[in-house]
Amino acid sequence: MLAEEYKRPEPLLPKKNWERWFSVTKKGVGAWAFALHRLTGILLVLYLFLHFYVLRTLTQGAAAYDNMVQFMESPILILLEVGLVAVIIYHGLNGLRLMLMALNIGVRQHKIMFWTVIVLTVFVSLIAAILMFH
């Protein structure tokens, strides 16, 4: 019998690709880094469209843009912006970590590099939160 003829029964494996990307239970630090990188990447793509939507108000005159800016000053949106800072910092720093690894630099230290990325992300996000709420 050819391998193709065997069928993997459910529910052993998650069916959808996105479920497989984020199946990180029992996995190591590298799998968490991978899943977080993918998640933050998806969030950044979605944010890009939101950003275009906000900028679109510029074409509707100064008053429309001012209204949007005023709306953006609500505490909930500022909190979301702090989250955005965290997403950007994590994705950027982990991207640097991945580039270093692709150049065969620090591959065996990838876990230390991941925790450094996390510490820096939390630190920068906290600074951003303090600055943005004052």
Partner: protein
């Protein structure tokens, strides 16, 4: 002796179909491995299917998921798992044959074309003094061809065309130590979207590798080699 509950995945096309988990309570001592338990259970249920050979972690045939993690069952000590409930399942990302047995065909379809020589020359135990009968010590390649790395890899999980960590690690070994192999052809095989550039550096392959082949680092070695080759061609 400690009583441990084993939850074992069962599936036989057309017989145990849909799949189910069978639960067994069994007394284990501190020496017993997961494979020992499976062999004990098989005395009462000879339909339980699993693959094994050497019992000491060198043949690579008894790879399976124990509590969700890829291990060789023969060297996975039950009590060292630190839990009184142990779930045993077949490897991921491979076609299921029966119970805990998966088909290794896709693995070898990707691994074999690299044609890595089995014996390595780079580590020949210079400090060892073999007896007259032995003549000389030989160091074999470390990969057991167990397939744990393919099971753990999140990219293999979503892209069956990806060459995968084992084949890429073998390719890197050929590049490091060609022993008569065609290195440009090997580099061509891995220098594409489904080769070493498909890896997302999750390093799960290295995490589960039972013999420290460290396929993740080997993939990064290939990337570095290809990048420096391309840069050299620019200048």
């Amino acid at each position: 002796m400690t009583e441990v509950t084993f939850k074992i995945f069962r599936y036989k096309p057309g017989v145990i179909d849909p799949p189910r988990y069978d639960t067994f309570k069994i007394e284990v001592d501190e020496q017993m491995s997961v494979l020992d338990v499976l062999e004990k259970l098989r005395i009462n249920d000879e339909t339980l299917t699993y693959r094994h050979s050497c019992h000491h972690g060198s043949c690579g045939t008894c790879g399976m998921l124990v509590n969700g993690k890829e291990v060789l069952a023969c060297v996975a000590n039950v009590l060292a798992l630190g839990t009184t409930e142990v779930t045993v399942e077949p490897l991921r990302n491979a076609p299921l044959v029966s119970d805990l047995v998966v088909s290794m065909e896709p693995f070898f379809n990707k691994y074999a074309p690299v044609e890595m020589p089995l014996i390595r020359q780079s580590e020949y135990l210079p400090e060892g003094k073999p007896s007259e009968e032995v003549g000389s010590y030989t160091r074999y390649e470390s990969c057991l061809e167990c397939g744990l790395c393919l099971s753990a890899c999140p990219v293999v999980a979503t892209d069956p065309a990806y060459l995968g960590p084992a084949a890429l690690a073998a390719a890197a070994r050929v590049v490091q130590e060609p022993r008569g192999q065609d290195v440009p052809a090997i580099l061509q095989m891995v220098d594409n979207a489904e080769g070493c550039w498909r890896c997302h550096s999750a390093m799960e392959c290295s995490e589960v590798c039972p013999n420290d082949v460290d396929p993740g680092s080997m993939i990064m070695y290939l990337r570095q080699h290809l990048i420096s080759d391309k840069l050299k061609h620019l200048f």
